[in-house]
């Protein structure tokens, strides 16, 4: 294997940045949409703050459909939506849309189960203090489940990184696109291996950081 490091850096440097941008933006939107959705799932569930069986079932179905459609099909299926939102369906910014759409239901379910793990007695105590629903969520549920939510987010970001590589294969940018283009299509395995190593390191770093933060916040 004879690597031209300068050339590799020129190729993989921007690709890495693209991946970070894609994953970062997708994560942001996943939290913005997935956290409220997860809270809604929890609240409406039979053990939640305001159980409404019918709405819970419908919401649950939508979330499950979102989670079961293979990412690659989802990405193609929502191209019109992506065009509408971003103006194009190609490139790393465009890939943010399908990434977030795929990750939101995944994260929402994790949020729901984190919240369900909280002792219902805590919710009852907050009610006894005269807290309303939103107050219970913001002052009790979220602070108390924060370590668990951070772990859920870590798992979600790692999943987004995995999806982002797939997005790269069909028009997205980033390390995944490089690995597929150079390794799978041009048989430049050395480039592919380095791209994959960067992805592995990225995942390791995210997992490490997530575990660290979660442990720091956990006072139990």
């Amino acid at each position: 294997m004879n690597l031209d490091w300068a050339e590799l850096a020129e190729l993989l440097g921007p690709a890495s940045l693209e991946t970070l941008q894609m994953v970062g933006l997708a994560t942001l939107w996943t939290v913005v949409a997935g956290l409220p959705l997860g809270v809604a799932l929890y609240s409406l569930s039979p053990r939640g703050l305001r159980p409404v069986g019918s709405v819970y079932k419908i919401l649950g179905l939508v979330v499950n459909v979102g989670r079961s459609v293979p990412f690659i099909l989802l990405m193609l299926a929502i191209i019109p939506v992506t065009r509408l939102l971003v103006g194009t369906s190609i490139g790393s910014v465009a890939a943010v849309v399908p990434l977030a759409v795929a990750a939101v239901p995944f994260f929402a379910r994790l949020v729901e189960s984190s919240l369900l793990d909280i002792d219902p007695g805590l919710v009852e105590a907050a009610r006894s203090m005269g807290a309303h629903g939103l107050g219970i969520v913001s002052r009790v549920l979220v602070p108390e489940s924060l370590p668990s939510l951070i772990r859920a987010l870590t798992v979600t970001v790692v999943a987004i990184i995995g999806y982002s590589a797939m997005a790269g294969a069909i028009g997205g940018g980033g390390l995944g696109a490089v690995a597929v283009r150079y390794g799978y299509q041009r048989f430049q395995y050395d480039t592919m291996i380095v791209a994959v190593i960067i992805l592995v390191v990225l995942v390791q770093l995210i997992q490490f950081a997530g575990d660290l933060v979660s442990r720091r916040l956990d006072r139990r």
Binding site: L122, S128, M129, G130, R139, E144
Partner: protein
């Protein structure tokens, strides 16, 4: 202060509350004693509408709680503190943040919260633990934090849901004494539920016994203890099952206050020539002013011509006499 009348609550086919009447006076400690499944927990939760009764009336400080909803109900709840068997503290928040929680919920500004939290921690004797996390505290300390939290919004009423049931004997006594002190110093009305008799006999002014969703007896603890045949007295004195022989009658004599020192047995022997023997005896000090003492003596009184006369004489002397 708290008035329940004809409160009923059913869960599917089990009846939790079967027409409960309860009256808690302002400034008293009121205990509801009952075994698990008697409906105590449901009863307590109707007072701050964590449980809605199917029918009946629940009034706190004159306000009909069952009629409230939304913001009015939340405001009413903030006037009613509550402590729990398992404390229910936020484990990822410091002691100070836990105590501040009701103040944050009430929208009190930060500048007001700090001094109030410090004051509350001082009241429960945990000033040095303000920055500790619940996991670093003992059970008794956690319950103190929960009590400080319950008092944060300056409630008129404190509800206690088996607050000492998860604690050891020594800690139980400390927490009970703290509750009693808060009752005296702050004029706090306390309604507590418990399955532990000692909670009632140690700190309650009044009590009710709940069985299968019904109040089987209620009143001042001192009166209940002194009343022959009362359930509370029977449980508190816990006299053995020793029965007299066929030739004798088993009689429980209950005496109160000054009579405790009187030689009942000697009087029976001398006056009526009855050779009584003592089967069992116990003394209880009822909580409240001056420590009201009640004793109960189980005697085997020989059946004879003067036995009835002797028992009648005891009654006229003010003793509680109950034949078993």
């Amino acid at each position: 202060m708290i008035e329940l009348s004809e409160v009923r609550k059913k869960y599917r086919d089990t009846t939790a509350l079967d027409g409960v009447d309860l009256s808690v006076r302002k400034g008293e400690v009121y205990g509801v004693l009952g075994r698990s499944g008697a409906g105590k927990s449901t009863l307590l939760r109707t007072v701050n509408a964590l449980e809605r009764p199917d029918s009946g009336s629940v009034k706190v400080a004159g306000t009909e709680i069952t009629a409230l909803g939304g913001a009015d109900l939340r405001a009413a709840r903030s006037r009613i503190g509550m402590v729990f068997q398992h404390f229910h503290l936020l484990r990822n928040k410091t002691v100070a943040a836990n105590v501040a929680l009701p103040l944050r919920i009430a929208g009190k500004p930060k500048g007001e919260r700090g001094p109030r939290v410090a004051e509350l921690l001082d009241v429960v004797g945990l000033s040095d633990k303000a920055n500790a996390y619940p996991a670093q505290l003992s059970g008794g300390q956690r319950q103190r934090v929960a009590i400080a939290r319950a008092l944060a919004a300056e409630p008129d009423v404190l509800l206690s849901d088996e607050a000492t049931s998860a604690l050891d004997q020594q800690t139980t006594v400390e927490i009970l004494d703290l509750l009693r002190r808060l009752n005296r110093d702050l004029g706090l009305t306390i309604l507590l539920i418990t399955h532990e008799l000692q909670v009632v006999t140690r700190i309650c002014d009044s009590a009710a016994i709940l069985r299968a969703g019904r109040v089987v007896e209620s009143g001042k603890v001192a009166d209940l203890l002194a009343a022959p045949g009362s359930e509370l007295g029977r449980q508190a004195f816990h006299l053995g099952d020793t029965a007299a022989t066929e030739a004798a009658r088993t009689v429980d004599i209950t005496f109160t206050g000054a009579e405790v020192g009187e030689p009942v047995v000697a009087a029976l022997v001398r006056r009526f020539d009855l050779d009584v023997s003592i089967l069992d005896a116990a003394v209880q000090t009822a909580p409240g002013d001056g420590g009201f003492t009640v004793g109960r003596l189980r005697l085997a009184v020989p059946a004879g011509p003067r036995t009835g006369e002797a028992l009648e004489w005891l009654r006229t002397r003010g003793y509680g006499v109950e034949e078993r």
